[in-house]
């Protein structure tokens, strides 16, 4: 198997994830789409790691996994906090940053 297959797959998954982030408004789903993008990144990293025969890339992916877990924890914490405060679960309604 040539490496570009993996990279193209990775790009495809990344784009799908990005589309999800752009078109969905439920924060839970947006977080899920972010997971997709992170997974795509990990896939590319692993492919290169395999190609170069260097396991450093695998460690990097592991660290990314941890960071992703942190993101999930904080993101879902925010979702729960929003729900508790009876805020609509719609990112379009969170507009306090408007200049």
């Amino acid at each position: 198997m040539a490496i570009e297959w993996y990279l193209v797959l990775s790009a495809l998954l990344f784009s799908i994830g990005f589309i999800g982030v752009l078109v969905r408004r439920n924060p839970v789903v947006i977080l899920l789409c972010l997971e997709l993008m992170l997974g795509a990144g990990a896939l590319a990293m692993l492919a290169f790691s395999r190609m170069l025969g260097d396991q450093d890339g695998q460690v990097m992916v592991l660290i990314v996994l941890v960071v992703a877990a942190c993101e999930v924890v904080v993101g879902l914490g925010l979702v729960v906090a929003m729900f508790r405060r009876r805020l609509p679960l719609d990112v379009d309604d969170m507009k306090e940053l408007k200049g």
Binding site: V21, L22, D92, G99
Partner: protein, 669 residues
């Protein structure tokens, strides 16, 4: 274990004590806190003795060990190690510092007993000892500066220890600021040393300096003058002397430890440590000696007239450090260090006795109000007498040996140094007068009400907590002596600390009897063996002549003071009347504060106001309003993009990514 290992341990104990107490002072029972504080310092003292023993086991030429645990910085040939340098001089300082500190800790264990900030106090005190030891043990100028600055902070924290007392916090700030001025000098000196020599650690600096510098070359003079700036500020020499008297706002053990025995002698240590540089720059060394002489005379005259007990002792400290500066300035290093040691003993003793008396006076410090303590507090009185006699260099006491050795050395150097010797003899007479004055004002006579109360009831007067200077009522929640005072007669810890120091103040002179023991000079010899003046030693006859001279001056002072205060009690008032202008000058401390106010504070303030009025208003304001205008209009343009829509931002980001990738793609074609 090697001497270096013991040196590290000496540093470790006070540091861990300080950190432990600092973390737990809210929950720790008082007693344990005090014990930990005392224990840490006593352990450090024991390690100091071990370092001494292991150093003495080495042959004389290899009695210096440099040890490094960590490379702090190494950039382009510039190397700083976190290293210590153990040699006779640093071991000598360690022993004096930890020894006196141990006794003062034991004293504080009782003295501070009813203070609300008891454990916090020991944490600070341990931190101070650690900083001082770091300063002494540092193996290069950079680490020395670290210790130097730590000591300055510890002094600030301890002077402002009763932080609800405004005068105390102000005094702490004053001490800190003046010390920082000196720190700047020290930092600049270190930079200059590195620029000229390319190294900062002691061994290499002293090795290279004689090869690189010729005598009195301007660079080396500049280095020494900058070092002196630091030394003068830390050791309260002219013109930086004003902070020391105010620093007496701190608790009495602090005055005894920091502002008499250890910290203020750091400047002396610095000069002795850098003696190779100072011998290459005789001009700077002379300046150090002359400033020391001026300080010792001026501080001596002030000490004769002020009436605040602790301030008298503070001014006498300045004056005695003046002696040490003269000694190290004229290359009498062992003499200077010896005087530093004896001074640490008797001055700490004097402060402890003063603390005991001040406690009995319910925190009043004015000697005009004190009378008849000989009957009320015999133990304290005896200790006060020992301290004062040693300070006045009464024959047989330790001060007699050390002070006259300095004067002797000066006259041996000849030339203008003989004039210094004459000046120091005048200073010795002044010293005798103010030392005995303390005794005759406080001890004899009909007991004052507080002393009488103590005799009658056996209890100390418990006055309302007030600030002794402004008489404002005190806030007692956060650390104040409290209503319960502790005097040496009733507190065993104070008694132990004072009796050991009293013994040392009396007999430590035996370490260095000319022609008989000379232990201190012999011990320090390996450090100073390269000095050009190592061979300048008085003959036995000269030494005896000098000692006789000094002893006679001291006795003359005793007789004079006895005559003035005991025989003719009306005389002081008359003398004040006759010499009114002189008295005013002395009482106002030679207008030192006013001079600094006029020469430094006013110009700086004026410059600040000028900046405020002109630079700030026109230059800076114009600049900022202009910038703000630009930013505001630019912001207005960008604001429309800030929809607050999360997904909008994501699209913009994606657009950016697509554009960047496109750019790279096109470029790669």
């Amino acid at each position: 274990m090697t001497a270096a290992t013991w040196g590290w341990l000496v540093l470790l104990f006070p540091l861990s004590g300080s950190i432990f107490l600092g973390l737990t002072f809210r929950v720790l029972p008082k007693k344990i806190g005090g014990l930990v504080g005392v224990g840490a310092i006593v352990a450090a003292f024991a390690c100091g003795i071990a370092a001494l023993i292991s150093l003495q086991g080495e042959p004389e030429e290899s009695r210096h060990v440099a040890s490094s645990i960590w490379e702090y910085a190494s950039v382009g040939g510039f190397q700083i190690d976190l290293g210590i340098y153990v040699d006779p001089l640093s071991v000598f300082m360690i022993l004096v510092v930890t020894g006196v500190s141990s006794l003062i800790h034991i004293y504080s264990f009782s003295y501070m007993q009813s203070d609300a900030g008891y454990t916090r106090f020991f944490s600070y005190l341990n931190f101070f000892v650690f900083s001082m030891l770091l300063l002494v043990l540092a193996g290069n100028y950079v680490l020395l500066i670290v210790g130097w600055a730590f000591v300055g902070f510890a002094s600030y924290a301890l002077v402002s220890f009763w932080y609800r007392r405004e005068t105390a916090t102000k005094a702490g700030m004053k001490a800190f600021v003046i010390n920082v001025v000196g720190d700047i000098g020290l930092v600049l000196a270190a930079i200059l040393i590195f620029r000229e020599l390319g190294v900062v650690d002691y061994a290499s600096v002293f090795e290279k300096a004689p090869e690189v510098f010729s005598t009195n070359q301007w660079e080396v003079v500049a280095i020494c003058l900058l070092l002196l700036l630091g030394a003068f500020a830390k050791s309260a020499q002219m013109p930086f002397h004003t902070w020391l008297a105010d620093a007496m706002e701190g608790p009495t053990p602090v005055s005894a430890l920091i502002h008499a025995a250890t910290m203020v002698t750091a400047g002396v240590y610095l000069i002795a440590r850098s003696y190779t540089l100072f011998e290459l720059a005789p001009t700077a060394a002379d300046i150090a000696a002359w400033v020391g002489l001026a300080t010792l005379l001026i501080a001596g005259t002030v000490a004769i007239v002020v009436t605040d007990l602790k301030r008298i002792i503070a001014y006498s400290t300045m004056s005695q450090i003046g002696y040490m500066f003269v000694a190290v300035g004229i290359a009498g290093y062992a003499e200077g260090m010896f005087h530093m040691m004896t001074h640490a003993f008797f001055k700490a003793l004097l402060f402890m006795s003063a603390g005991s008396i001040i406690s009995a006076m319910a925190n009043m410090q004015d000697i005009d109000k004190m009378k008849g303590f000989w009957k009320a507090m015999p133990f304290t009185a005896v200790m006060l007498i020992i301290g004062a006699f040693a300070l006045a260099a009464f024959p047989g006491t330790s001060g007699w040996f050390s002070k006259d050795e300095i004067i002797n050395f000066a006259s041996l150097r000849g030339g203008m140094y003989s004039w210094m010797a004459a000046g120091m003899l005048v200073g010795a007479f002044l010293t005798a007068i103010y030392s005995y004055r303390i005794l005759f004002r406080i001890l004899p006579g009909k007991p004052c009400p507080e002393a009488q109360h103590l005799i009658d009831t056996g209890h100390v007067v418990h006055g309302d907590p007030v600030n002794p200077h402004t008489l404002e009522p005190e806030d007692t929640d956060v650390g104040y002596p409290g209503e319960h005072h502790h005097i040496a007669e009733q507190a065993p810890g104070m008694k132990i600390g004072m009796s050991v120091l009293g013994f040392l103040a009396l007999f430590a002179g035996a370490l260095q009897i000319p022609g008989v023991t000379e232990a201190v000079a012999n011990f320090l010899e390996p450090t100073f063996e390269n000095s050009a003046f190592a061979g300048v030693l008085p003959t036995e006859a000269e030494a005896l002549y000098g000692l006789t001279k000094g002893g006679l001056i001291s006795i003359a002072g005793l007789v004079l003071v006895w005559f003035i205060y005991m025989k003719r009690p009306d005389l002081p008032a008359k003398l004040i009347k006759t010499f009114r202008p002189l008295y005013t000058l002395f009482v106002n401390k030679w207008y030192g504060d006013e001079l600094i106010e006029f020469l430094v504070v006013k110009p700086v303030k004026g410059f600040g106001q000028f900046c405020n009025r002109v630079v700030e208003r026109f230059a800076i304001n114009g600049l900022t309003t202009g910038t703000a205008g630009i930013v505001r209009s630019a912001g207005g343009a960008v604001r429309d993009l800030q929809t607050g829509m999360l997904r909008g931002y994501a699209v913009l980001m994606l657009f950016g990514i697509v554009a960047i990738v496109l750019y790279f793609l096109i470029r790669s074609i």
